[in-house]
Symmetry: C2
Subunit: 225 residues, 2 copies
């Protein structure tokens, strides 16, 4: 006897398998249903369309990431230690999706694709993820300067996107190179917090904020549709 | 009467059209030849295989980029002005490949793909591109500190890769958002050169070098094949 919530998961798992095999464009809701062993109408009961299914996957990953980070985020600690914990937790969560990631990337990067992490359709998952980085920064001790705190969540989130891309193209066993990149890069935030206290750094940090605003503009909805 | 070098270009153009239409995996040398109106054997005379053709495209872009940058690179100037000129010249060169870029990205990101910019197969085009950034830094006045000079070419090149990714997913007319990102980000190097003179920045810059070494490891061939 299969429960309703299991059906949803079975369809999602089937979709992931078919994405890997045939790519995003080569798959249909009908095919997901067949692969999952359910009626097509049943699949449509759970997901409006393929894009809806992808957003569910995004939200699921963010939700699981958030759950794994919660103890660390609530426990204080330095920015560096918190960042290390948050990124390693993320790699724990996404590990099982590595094969899917390569097949999916082309779709996720398309500027008009709802699956683009910066698209309007992805805003719920993106906000879930950004919230982690805001909390990461807000709860760090010692606190960075207010000026640096204003840019750090977006900066860390953008680096986190870059890390995801590195992970997708990481062919090492269990993507251990990505783990090493996290361990090597995390000390940079400690240096950044120290440098951020210097008067000479003020202009640099403000300019960095302007760069992030342009880079993440799609997510703020300021671009005409 | 079509000259030999024109034939090579005609095949390359035909391949680009088919990449856009059918994706990289969905195309063949035979199809390129048919699209170009030449015999399949003729196509194989010019290109060993599809990957060879992609590398030719990469080298052509780098060579054209280098030619456009040459006057600026030989003329001194600040790091910021040189960087602005180099990136805008790059965007001038790649503008015509924008539609191709989206279709091609999934192939280029695959870790075992010769088309990955960090792969061994791409080393010739990568070295051509890296050489531009080395020259950009070496000829800048005022000169950054030796410590910063040691990391800047790799850092700028990695940012340049990131910019290319941003450009691929940029849906604005003529990718003007990417131009704006270049203009907003370029002043950061001036700030970086100033901060780099502070004793407090030494550890940060050295750590940055270690991060770049891990991030670009594939290109150094230190990973077991």
């Amino acid at each position: 006897m299969v429960r309703a919530t299991d059906t949803r998961q079975v369809i999602l798992d089937a979709a992931l398998r078919l994405f890997e095999e045939r790519g995003y464009a080569g798959t249909t809701m009908r095919a997901f249903a067949a692969e999952a062993g359910v009626a097509t109408g049943n699949a449509y009961y759970w997901f409006a369309d393929k894009d809806d299914l992808v957003q569910e996957l995004y939200r699921r990953i963010q939700s699981e990431h958030r759950d794994r980070c919660a103890p660390v985020l609530g426990a204080g600690g330095t920015l560096q230690d918190r960042l290390l914990a948050v990124e390693h937790a993320y790699l724990d969560v996404i590990g099982r999706y590595h094969d899917f990631g390569v097949a999916f990337l082309s779709t996720a990067v398309g500027s008009d694709s709802p699956a683009n992490p910066l698209s309007a359709a992805s805003s719920e998952a993106r906000e879930m993820s950004l919230a982690i980085y805001r909390e990461l920064v807000a709860g760090a001790r010692p606190l960075p300067t207010p000026r640096l705190r204003a840019v750090l969540p977006d900066l860390l989130w953008l680096c986190h996107l870059g890390l995801t891309l590195f992970w997708v193209s990481d062919a090492s066993p269990d993507q251990h190179r990505t783990r090493r990149l996290v361990d090597t890069a995390a000390p940079l935030v400690t240096g950044l917090v120290r440098l951020g206290r210097l008067p000479l750094a003020a202009g640099f940090v403000d300019q960095l904020g302007r760069v992030l605003a342009v880079a993440l503009e799609q997510s703020t909805g300021t671009v005409a549709p």
